[in-house]
Structures are given as structure tokens and as C-alpha cells.
């Protein structure tokens, strides 16, 4: 019973972490471009 409870807790925690990660992934930062422009001289 105790072991099952601990296992459930671990699974619960793991899914929580995984949810967090998914949220971070969904909120991707500013767009990254493939190509890079040549800047004018300084």
C-alpha cells in the first residue's frame, strides 16, 4: 500500500514536470531565421 502510494506520487510528479516542459515548448521564443543578412559597414 505504502509502496503503491509512493509510486503514484512519483508518477504524478513526473507528469507534472512533463506538463511544465510542454508549456515551455509551446511558448517558443522569438522567431529564428534560417539565413543571415550581411550588415552594412560600421
Amino acid at each position: 500500500m505504502k509502496k503503491t502510494l509512493i509510486l503514484l506520487l512519483i508518477i504524478g510528479f513526473a507528469s507534472l514536470v512533463s506538463n511544465d516542459v510542454s508549456t515551455v515548448l509551446a511558448a517558443e521564443p522569438a522567431e529564428t531565421q534560417d539565413t543571415v543578412a550581411i550588415r552594412p559597414p560600421v
Partner: protein, 405 residues
């Protein structure tokens, strides 16, 4: 003119003692006070001392005026990007090098020398000069102090330290009201820095201010540079019509002003714009047009080859892409430019169906080696994103998060 210092300098250069120089003219303590600039000597005493040292006072005064004229000329040459004239003015100034420390232009001369090193991209000299100038800073006028800050800002841009450069140059706009001669340049450099920092709105704003200044002052070369900066930032902001419009003006103006060295850069950037618009065929057309006229053995040429190969990759022209990345790899190796060697190797792994190896190479070789290189920031963002996507698709979320910037 610091006449006392000038006398002391020439006396010691001619290995004379104070008593030898003063003999029959004035007392030794009197000469000592003159040399330390702590006493106003009468004209006759000065004339006799200078005669003994075989220095013509008229020549000395003329030199001071000449130094002032040359300093102004050097500044104008640099502001209007007249490279050959700037080099020749700088060489002419060197004739008066020994005289400058005795004039009121001592610090301005050294500060313009810093600007000249930045102009000729001698960054190690510039670095040394900045250290020396900072040690003298307590003696500077407000104008000199502001010039040092501004030129240090330009140095930071050239070293790829954009955040620090932004801080330095923005502070000048807030602290000094009389930017006058440098107003256009300051706006221009802020536009560049903001562009590098992906703050396109600010970059466009400063770019427009710079453009107005350069138009008023007929600085045509800088007008071309601002138009390029505006086009890049419109492109980054997805205001594609404005970007295209600017590039069209640029091509026309560049041909009209015979600034043909800029043409491959412009064609390249039109390729970059078309790529962003998703029009890969047109992008490829412009990258090819650019590569043909690019001066080989330059880093920009390597960038052009990279973008060309990448566009072929996007268009799934696998054989063409393989040829282009192989050429890039070879050129980068010969030029000893390691980032492009790494980037091309990564794509060559992919093109040879070694995806797993490509990703390991990306994670273990590419990202660690460019992580701290300021000038490779845009590539670091790009490759991190690829790796994040890869791990996300593999379900390895913790690893994916690590590469989301």
C-alpha cells in the same frame, strides 16, 4: 601652445643641460619655471632660447594651425568614408607627430587616432589606444570625454559586444546635448546595434533619423548604408514591401554612385529577404547572382555560399546542395574559418543520411564552439532551435528545453 614643454623637449632631445641653454639669456631657475609652463616669459627671452635650440617660433605656430586643419580634414574624410583621403591625411598628420603634444590638440589628436584605427579596422591598436586614453581621461574636456565614449561604443560593435555598445552609445544621446557633427553617425550606429539585438523597431527609428541627417549633409555613402540597415530591419519585422522597396532604391543608387563593392551584399540580402518570405526559388536566384560577383576569400563570401547551399537544401535540390556545402567546407578550411567548416560538415552529414551523427555533431561540436562567440549569435540561435526541435520530436523534453533560448 605649451611653449615651455616644447623648449624642454628640444633641449633634452639635443642633450643640453638647463645651464647650457640658459647661459647668457636668463637664470637656470627662470628657465626651469618657463619649461614647467609655470612662468610667462617675455617674448625676447623665448626668442633667444628658441634661437639657441634652432627652432623657428613662426614655424611652430604655423604647425599648430596646420595640425588643427589636418585634424578637421581627417574627421571629414572619415565621416564621408573617403578611405584613400583619410589614409593620406593621417600620414600627413604624422609629420607633425612630435609637435602635437605641445599644442592644445594633444588629446583630440589621440582621440581621432582611435577613430582612425576603428576606420581601418586595426582593432588591436584601437584597444591599446582606448586603454591609454582612459588613463588620461581626467584631463579631458567634456567634448573629448564624449568622443572617447562614443568611439569606445564603435569599438564594442566591431568586437560584437552589442549590449555594451548599446549602453555606451545610448548614454551619449542622453547625457550630451551637443552631438552636432556626430549626430547622424550616432543614430546610424544605434540603428546597427539595435538591429544586431533584434530590436527592429528601434533600429528603424534610429535609421530614419540617421537618413535625414545624412540627406541634409549630402553623405551619399552613409545614405546607402542606412538604406541597407533599414531594409534588413524591415525584413526582420516582416514588413516585406518596405524592405523590397529599400533594396530597389539601393541597387539603383549603388549603380549610380558606382559603389559596386556593395552590390554583392545587396543581392545577397535580397536573397535573404526572399528566403524569409518563403520564396526559395527567388532567394536562390539572388544568392547565385551575389556569389558570382563576390570577392572570394572573404567571410561574407562564405556566408553567401552557406545561404546558397541552405536554400538548395530547402528546395530539396540535394545534389546541388551537397556540391555547394562541399565547396563551402573546402573554402572555409583554406581560409581557416572554423564555424563555416562546422556548419557545412553538419549539413553534409544530413545529406549523406547520417541524421543521428549530424545531431551529435551539432550538440557536441558546433554549439559548444560558438556558444561564446558574439559574432555567431544568430547561428547559435538557429542551431539551438534545430536541436530543440529534434529532441522535442524524440520526446526528450528535458533535453529539448535545454536548447530553447
Amino acid at each position: 601652445m605649451q611653449i615651455g614643454s616644447l623648449i624642454k623637449y628640444h633641449r633634452t632631445k639635443q642633450k643640453m643641460t638647463q645651464s647650457e641653454l640658459a647661459e647668457g639669456i636668463c637664470s637656470v631657475p627662470h628657465l626651469s619655471k618657463i619649461e614647467n609652463n609655470s612662468k610667462e616669459a617675455n617674448v625676447e627671452t623665448i626668442r633667444l632660447v628658441l634661437d639657441r635650440l634652432e627652432i623657428d617660433l613662426h614655424d611652430v605656430e604655423e604647425s599648430e594651425v596646420k595640425v588643427e586643419v589636418l585634424l578637421n580634414q581627417l574627421l571629414q574624410n572619415m565621416l564621408y568614408l573617403e578611405t584613400e583621403k583619410a589614409v593620406s591625411t593621417f600620414l600627413e598628420l604624422q609629420v607633425y607627430k612630435e609637435m602635437v603634444p605641445f599644442t592644445k590638440h594633444i588629446y583630440l589628436y589621440e582621440i581621432y587616432k582611435l577613430r582612425y584605427y576603428l576606420f581601418t579596422k586595426d582593432l588591436d591598436f584601437a584597444d591599446e589606444q582606448i586603454k591609454w586614453l582612459n588613463a588620461q581621461r581626467q584631463n579631458f574636456s567634456q567634448h573629448e570625454s564624449y568622443l572617447l565614449s562614443y568611439f569606445t561604443g564603435i569599438f564594442l560593435i566591431l568586437r560584437g559586444k552589442y549590449e555594451e555598445a548599446d549602453e555606451k552609445i545610448s548614454a551619449i544621446l542622453q547625457e550630451y546635448y551637443e552631438t552636432n557633427t556626430f549626430e547622424g553617425e550616432i543614430y546610424y550606429h544605434l540603428a546597427l546595434v539595435k538591429g544586431y539585438m533584434y530590436q527592429s523597431g528601434h533600429a528603424i527609428n534610429y535609421g530614419k533619423k540617421a537618413l535625414n541627417f545624412f540627406k541634409d549633409h549630402f553623405n551619399f555613402k552613409r545614405i546607402l548604408h542606412v538604406q541597407m540597415s533599414l531594409a534588413i530591419n524591415y525584413s526582420q519585422s516582416k514588413i516585406y514591401d518596405e524592405a523590397l522597396d529599400n533594396y530597389q532604391h539601393l541597387v539603383r543608387n549603388t549603380e549610380m554612385l558606382k559603389e559596386t563593392a556593395l552590390l554583392p551584399h545587396i543581392y545577397h540580402n535580397i536573397g535573404d529577404l526572399r528566403h524569409r518570405m518563403g520564396d526559395y526559388e527567388q532567394a536562390l536566384h539572388y544568392f547565385k547572382k551575389s556569389a558570382v560577383i563576390f570577392q572570394e576569400r572573404t567571410e561574407n563570401y562564405l556566408l553567401c555560399l552557406y545561404n546558397l547551399a541552405l536554400t538548395e537544401f530547402k528546395l530539396e535540390k540535394w545534389d546541388d546542395s551537397k556540391i555547394s556545402f562541399t565547396l563551402l567546407n573546402k573554402e572555409a578550411k583554406e581560409m581557416k574559418v572554423s564555424p563555416y567548416q562546422l556548419y557545412s560538415s553538419y549539413y553534409l552529414f544530413l545529406l549523406n543520411d547520417k541524421k543521428q551523427k549530424a545531431m551529435t555533431f551539432l550538440e557536441e561540436k558546433i554549439l559548444p564552439s560558438i556558444e561564446k562567440a558574439d559574432e555567431q549569435k544568430e547561428f547559435y540561435r538557429y542551431f539551438s532551435k534545430i536541436l530543440a526541435e529534434y529532441y522535442k520530436n524524440e520526446g526528450k523534453y528535458e533535453k529539448a528545453v535545454k536548447y530553447i533560448l
